[in-house]
Subunit: 390 residues, 2 copies
């Protein structure tokens, strides 16, 4: 097991009716900017309910809507201008991963005094942490279980054809409200995407090589098994509270940090997936569902022990040669995604062989030339991964 530091100060406030807790959680007398997305929170009444509670206790409430899926730098900078002008001292994101990630960027960029006028450069620091001293404190009200952004300090922001990750320790939400009932009205495809997103987050921390971390392995398998168990159920019965509650909590814990401590992850599926989203506007989870099976097949030698363990413990595959068991585990994964209505081939995204050069050029531009747990996934290997899922 590798050395690690685990720190996660976000308060998760989980369950029915927890929206009322906002009055206790948001600082009194604060100037609060509520951020949201394309309008579903407005249409289904969640935004009004949030505003009603936050408006208590002497707070000034401002709002900023229109944060798009794969939030755009140019959009977010409009919110940064509001924060600076109105001296906002608390941000409240109401939405899914895009709104939460976008709000994290607003929180950092608003305080990046050395970067005024060149805030886009904050996105180039990636996982090296943006050079800010602090961020505007933020909370979230989660309406889409998927990205886990509600309980980590990471975000991914788009700037034209660049889709870039960044992080800063000051970006852990102070609190996140996780009320499963707020997700009952989501369209089926967004719920399916959330299941896939969480599943892939777990596999990217798990599917590397054995690292003498049996507890982390089993906790990762716990999330995978639970998603397999409750995923189809919550799609079929969106108003079943318990199944949806498990999905919400699985999505949060998939990227809250605990399953990844002491082990080396392989985020290559996300890195390639980001290029598909940036270039072809594929939904984030849909791009992951395509790249992951390719990664599993092309990298099966490097990931052999963990693929066998995954097959046995998660899918009960114990018959056949190593190769047969690994292939069976990959097929099970594909069938699971397909059963949720999520495709596992590039053609499902409308991407063809002629697009590969463009994807490769973007990967190179973003420095993604030595991916994977061993740093040995060259551009050539990434190309073979995509060719395996044409």
């Amino acid at each position: 097991m590798l050395n690690f530091t685990f720190f996660n100060p976000t308060k998760a406030v989980f369950g029915k009716g927890q929206l009322q807790e906002l009055d206790n959680l948001v600082p009194e007398k604060a100037t609060v900017l509520i951020t949201y997305g394309g309008g579903s929170a407005k249409r289904n009444g969640v935004l009004d309910r949030v505003k009603d509670v936050v408006a208590k206790s002497g707070r000034t409430v401002l709002e900023f809507g229109g944060i798009e899926a794969n939030p755009e730098f140019s959009t977010l900078m409009k919110a940064v201008a509001i924060v600076r002008e109105k001296k906002v001292d608390f941000l409240l994101a109401v939405g899914g991963g895009s709104v939460m990630d976008g709000t994290k960027f607003i929180a950092s960029a608003s305080c990046a005094d050395n970067f005024v006028g060149k805030e886009a450069e904050l996105l180039t620091f990636g996982f090296g942490a943006v050079p800010v001293e602090r961020s505007i404190p933020l909370g979230t009200v989660v309406t889409l279980p998927a990205t886990g952004s509600e309980m980590n300090c990471f975000a991914v922001i788009s700037n034209g054809e660049d889709k870039l990750p960044f992080m800063h320790p000051s970006l852990f939400p102070v609190f996140s409200i996780l009320d499963p009932e707020l997700t009952f009205t989501l369209p089926e495809n967004q719920v399916a995407n959330g299941i896939v997103d969480a599943f892939v987050h777990v596999l990217e921390q798990y599917l590397t090589y054995p690292q003498a971390a049996p507890l982390q392995d089993r906790m990762a398998e716990s999330i995978l098994q639970t998603l397999i168990e409750i995923g189809p159920e919550t799609l079929a019965k969106p108003q079943d509270y318990d199944a949806r509650a498990s999905l919400v909590w699985c999505a949060t814990l998939a990227l809250q940090g605990l399953i990844g401590v002491g082990v080396v992850p392989d985020w290559s599926t996300h890195m390639i997936g980001h290029e598909l989203t940036a270039l072809f506007r594929s939904a984030h989870a849909r791009s992951l569902a395509v790249v992951l099976p390719g990664t599993m097949r092309v990298r099966k030698e490097q990931k052999k022990e963990k693929l066998l363990q995954y097959g046995e413990r998660v899918w009960g595959i114990v018959e056949g040669s190593d190769d047969e068991r690994i292939e069976a585990a990959i097929v099970k994964t594909e069938e699971f995604f397909n059963s949720l209505g999520v495709g596992t081939r590039l053609k499902d995204l409308g991407v063809t062989e002629t697009d590969l050069d463009k994807i490769m050029a973007n990967l190179e531009k973003h420095g993604m030339t030595a991916l994977s747990e061993r740093g040995d996934q060259t551009l050539d290997v990434s190309r073979r991964i995509l060719e395996a899922v044409l």
Copy 2:
């Protein structure tokens, strides 16, 4: 799944050589009181290493040794006097659960301005949280993996024949150093006790009734399975880093909060065990190892579904009638404890049938008359539990 709030701001700094991080973790120029136990930290050199690092960066270092197993109120009050007199502003516990729990009491009692001269009353608030505004901030250096105190806000303190739990949200350690190598020199029986303590902590949060929390169930099972896997290994090879590292992390996560969110626990084994320790000076874990099998047998109807699930998932028991499978799961648990050299009968603690009246009187005195997940464990039921393990 029940509503819950999960919040755990402790920074876990895990791995080889992490003691050096103390200089970054303890506030500069602070007056620091280092607390420790019976002297093993002094003898094996850990205390000196800690002092060397903490003495940097303009800090004033004081020390307070002699905190006993099952820390005594009267001992701890001597440290409270030092904290008040020397205006200590950071506490650093170097030890196991007793030192950490004792230090938490020092941290709270030192700030309980309304209770000066009657600090013992703080122990009567139990899990209702002691009425303090704040506590002296504290960190820990863990030398014994067992209680999980390093990453929660609970503590248990003895005052003569009373052994009482208390808690306060301000008592989460700011940080905890978890270096598995610091535990290599522990006596075998203390390592065995730690394995049992962690195992029972998990079962008390898990072995109740199904509560539509499949992820919490599986995460609990993950810790149990890992303890079964690495427990005997780390006893046999105390210097095997990876096995010991897994034990340390299992013990922490067993009582860090996550496996208990959204479900109702049953802490009756601990509550009865505390009386055995208070009256007969039984080591904490040894008392739990006796009470738990009695609880499993006497309460097998109330805990039927979870006992069957535990047997199947943790021990692979799938053959036989429900009753046979439950009995097999209990026997497996007893055999596991016995294999670690830990007894599972009252006679192993030197306690006999004639002592039962005294135990019952203490349980009644401490209000433990409606224990368990359903509150239906009367004194009569607790007596039957103890009679089942004479």
